[in-house]
């Protein structure tokens, strides 16, 4: 027990030098947890929003449906089978028909995916109720990104052209009844939403759909001939890969922060050993073994990490909690970041993140404290007493 006691005594006795190191290290602690929390938050927010507005509890895709292959859409539709229809009737599923089309905003040509959705569905958070209008109007919803890129606004009328099931082109002037504000690009960019029955009628695809979104609480996912069930793992895999890619960038930042903090500790240890070699000689003269000297100085260094964790907890917990509650307002144009980012990011700090960061910092602090201290093992007591490095 003598080594920890002496290490604490030395550490506290060193005063300002100790506290400077501790503050730098605690900043690294808090910054690492904060930045990682932001990434976790962005991902959690994006996943939640995607599930709420588009993915539900998974989707049945018509077997030829491939959202990444526009040319496949012409054949990627079929009558909703009875087993899925009963789920739709029980408000446990929402069919969506996807047809390729062209929009002509202000005389420009804009290729779009026309998506038909039931205006009465409540399963997805998409505001489809705006599509409930009289028979004399042809309502359409677009997202805010789509509105920006086409220059359309609520109340505007725009020509929409499509190709029906028999290959004939047809067109209508549709009225933009609402602009959806969503962080999910998958329901926004390059898409226009119209009532499902209208699209079915215009395209000659009565009773058909390209995909059927299933409610999260729907019991069971039956096998349906000609349809393939895609679960959330599949549907979110692209997003997860993107997050992983972005996380790699964050990890570089993480490593740089750790390295900076460790450099401070390493420098401080090297300086300390250089300055205190006479003290080491005195300790040896008083009966300290080399092993004890190494343990003492390593523990002194490692205790910086422990103190830093305590100091980081002192100001970090209120700071991180405040951020988690109030979020971090994002500037406009963050869409280009590639992820669905809301107006505010709410960081998420998992217990694993905090524990892993703490363990990592403590481990690395101990190692960088040990490395310079190990040199003492080769120092002769007489040289140390003279203040020399052998």
């Amino acid at each position: 027990m003598i080594i920890p006691k002496l290490a604490v005594r030395n550490l506290l006795g060193a005063g300002l030098r100790t506290w400077l190191n501790v503050v730098v290290l605690s900043l690294a602690f808090v910054l690492i947890i904060w930045t990682q929390g932001l990434y976790e938050g962005v991902y959690a927010q994006a996943e939640r929003a995607s599930v709420d507005i588009a993915l539900g509890g998974g989707q049945y895709w018509q077997e030829k449906y491939d959202p990444l292959d526009i040319l496949s859409l012409e054949d990627a539709h079929a009558v909703v089978p009875d087993s899925l229809r009963s789920m739709v009737d029980a408000a446990q599923a929402a069919p969506i028909l996807v047809v390729q089309g062209t929009l002509y905003p202000k005389g420009r040509i804009h290729p779009v995916l026309i998506k038909g959705i039931d205006p009465n569905q409540k399963m997805l958070s998409l505001p489809s109720q705006f599509l409930k209008t009289g028979e004399d109007r042809f309502p359409a919803l677009i997202g805010s990104r789509m509105a920006k890129s086409t220059g359309l606004a609520v109340g505007d009328t725009v020509t929409l052209r499509w190709r029906d099931a028999k290959g004939a082109f047809d067109a209508r002037d549709v009225e933009i009844v609402q602009v959806i504000k969503t962080i999910v690009q998958g329901v926004d960019q390059g898409q226009i939403w119209i009532p499902l029955d209208r699209l079915r009628a215009w395209a000659g695809m009565e009773g058909e759909a390209s995909l059927v979104v299933v409610a999260r609480d729907a019991p069971g996912r039956p096998q349906v001939s000609g349809w393939v069930f895609r679960d959330l793992d599949f549907l979110l895999s692209d997003m997860r890969q993107l997050v992983q890619m972005k996380s790699a960038g964050a990890t570089v930042f993480y490593v740089v922060l750790i390295l900076l903090a460790m450099l401070a500790i390493f420098d401080s240890q090297v300086l300390s050993i250089f300055r205190r070699r006479k003290e080491m000689g005195t300790l040896m003269a008083l009966g300290f073994t080399r092993g004890r000297v190494i343990r003492l100085f390593t523990m002194e260094g490692a205790l910086h990490g422990v103190l830093a964790a305590l100091v980081a907890a002192l100001y970090g917990i209120p700071f991180l909690t405040w951020f988690a509650r109030n979020g971090w307002a994002m500037p406009e144009g963050m869409d280009s970041y590639g992820l669905a980012i809301g107006e505010k990011i709410f960081p998420v700090y998992g217990a694993g993140l905090v524990a892993a960061t703490t363990l990592l910092v403590l481990l690395v602090t101990t190692i960088v404290s040990y490395l310079p201290t190990r040199k003492i093992a080769g120092l002769k007591p007489t040289d140390a007493l003279r203040g020399r490095m052998s």
């Binding site: 060193a14 003269a285 008083l286 073994t289 004890r292 007489t382």
Partner: protein, 240 residues
């Protein structure tokens, strides 16, 4: 071969390599020290005083020959065994005091006892007693930086004697002190030698120290040039 002396050196040789040159710091030194001696190693700089002190203190080992301290051959000791010997039986007093700067006076003096696993109450009692011997009980909570040179050396003495070692090695203990403080320190050491029967060995070329010695060993170029028993002479006005 058992030695009846507390310390005995036999044909002790210590050489150092300095580039291509070899320097002989000690050259066939044969000496014996009995319990309770108050002995000085005197001689000019480079005569081998500190080297001999370091070997006796098991801080260094001889190149050849033998140094037997408390019945143990220094040259055969492992690092840990040497540390244990210093810890239990040898106290050091340095020219520059070598107090641990972040500790208080009390903690500095208490330090050797921590290594010897004394209980907290025993440590406190022994530490205060040692500080009392050197007249610094009232400065127990001071930091070394707040002490004068004489007070610092007295703290160093208290730290060296607190565990009541058999041997106390002092390397130029008065070199950084003025005359008054030097005599104060020497009288303190003389009293400790008398009361505790601690064997004192000094490395010095200070005439003030030599005046207190009962045995003077003169070293020259690493060899013993003289070994004489002395009657301690006190400077005028320096009484008992």
């Amino acid at each position: 071969m058992e030695s009846s002396y507390l310390i005995e050196t036999r044909d002790l040789v210590k050489t150092y390599s300095l580039g291509e040159h070899t320097i002989k710091a000690l050259n066939k030194v044969n000496l014996q020290f009995a319990k309770g001696e108050f002995t000085g190693l005197v001689g000019p700089s480079g005569s081998g005083k500190t080297t001999l002190l370091n070997i006796i203190g098991s801080l260094d080992s001889p190149t050849s020959g033998s140094a037997v301290v408390m019945g143990r051959k220094v040259e055969d000791l492992s690092h840990n065994q040497a540390a244990a010997l210093r810890n239990r039986h040898i106290g050091f007093i340095f020219q520059t005091f070598n107090l641990l700067p972040v500790y208080t006076v009390f903690e500095n003096v208490e330090f050797p006892l921590l290594l010897l696993d004394y209980s907290s109450s025993e440590r406190r009692k022994m530490t205060l007693a040692a500080l009392d011997w050197v007249g610094l009980a009232d400065r127990a909570q001071s930091k070394p930086a707040q002490l004068s040179g004489g007070q610092s050396q007295r703290v160093a003495i208290a730290r060296a004697v607190v565990k009541k070692p058999a041997i106390l090695l002092a390397d130029e203990p008065t070199a950084n002190l003025d005359a008054e403080n030097s005599h104060h320190i020497l009288r303190t050491m003389e009293r400790l030698n008398r009361e505790l029967e601690t064997t004192f060995i000094f490395a010095t070329h200070d005439e003030k120290v030599i005046g207190y010695l009962r045995r003077k060993i003169t070293l020259f170029d690493g060899a013993v040039a003289g070994d004489e028993r002395m009657q301690p002479r006190r400077p005028a006005g320096e009484g008992k």
